[in-house]
């Protein structure tokens, strides 16, 4: 058990360092992303209400897209990303509480948020099911889960390689976020397939 945990933690540390290195250049992809996904970020963030947790807040690209009155807490594994998110929050004139933490062990009590947002990040978390369980735990009953992610690994031909790739990395194979959400107890309200089905946008709710 201890052995498994430390292997996982090495992996987490690698992910953390990688995103620290990528923090400076991350926003260069914004133009392309917008052409592919339109304002998917805005559409999802516009549904957030009350106390909102954004998991993998990154450089803070979503922070100016939340409605007024939403209190945002941003979590990320990478301090390099969080430093940028702090600047984005200041630029957007928003007070955002930033936390360095792991999506698989959220540093919040049960039922503490009205909405949880995670955009283009679930695919990077080494264990989707654990991460989604944690999202469920910190959402109040009736609270909204708002997800956007790319899912090429769940489609042919990459699906053929995902199992092997996951085994090599010592993690479970990735599945479509919508499937994981349903399996972990969420009620899906809306599911859109975007960009020829390579991206999923999901609005789900923790049952009241």
């Amino acid at each position: 058990m201890e052995q498994i945990r430390s292997e996982r933690d090495d992996q987490t540390e690698r992910v953390r360092r990688r995103w620290d290195r990528m923090a400076a250049g991350y926003d260069r992809g914004a133009g392309l992303e917008r052409r592919l996904l339109g304002d998917s970020r805005g559409l999802l963030c516009g549904l957030a209400r009350g106390r909102t947790l954004e998991i993998a807040v990154g450089t803070g690209r979503n922070l100016d897209r939340y409605p007024d009155g939403v209190q945002v807490t941003g979590l990320d594994l990478s301090p390099g990303m969080l430093a940028r998110a702090a600047r984005a929050a200041a630029g957007a004139g928003r007070r955002v509480d930033l936390r360095e933490g792991d999506a698989r062990r959220l540093p919040f009590p049960d039922a503490s948020f009205d909405s949880v947002v995670c955009t283009l990040a679930l695919c990077e978390i080494p264990d989707q099911a654990t991460a989604v369980d944690e999202m469920y735990r910190v959402l109040r009953p009736g609270g909204a889960l708002l997800l956007l992610d790319h899912v090429e690994y769940a489609r042919m031909p990459l699906r053929l390689f995902e199992r092997r790739r996951a085994a090599r990395r010592g993690r479970p194979p990735r599945r479509r976020p919508v499937e994981v959400a349903v399996e972990r107890g969420f009620a899906v309200e809306r599911h859109d397939r975007l960009v020829l089905g390579f991206f999923d946008r999901v609005v789900a709710r923790r049952p009241a």
């Binding site: 969080l82 702090a86 930033l98 933490g101 062990r105 540093p107």
Partner: protein, 58 residues
């Protein structure tokens, strides 16, 4: 370094290991979980709530 954190923030912070509430040790600039015996640092004003980065106390 003195850490400044609103009460509101502490209210929705929990230890990632025990999920118990955290208490601010202003002098040390750390967030302490008495249940798991871990003290989490605050770096550049951002609480670092990773078990691997925490200091084991007592």
């Amino acid at each position: 370094m003195t850490a400044k954190i609103d009460d509101w923030l502490l209210e929705i912070l929990a230890c990632p290991e025990s999920k118990a509430p955290l208490r601010l040790d202003e002098e040390a600039g750390e967030l302490v979980c008495d249940e798991s015996g871990l003290a989490y640092p605050i770096r550049d004003g951002i609480p670092v709530l990773l078990v691997d980065e925490a200091r084991r106390i007592g």
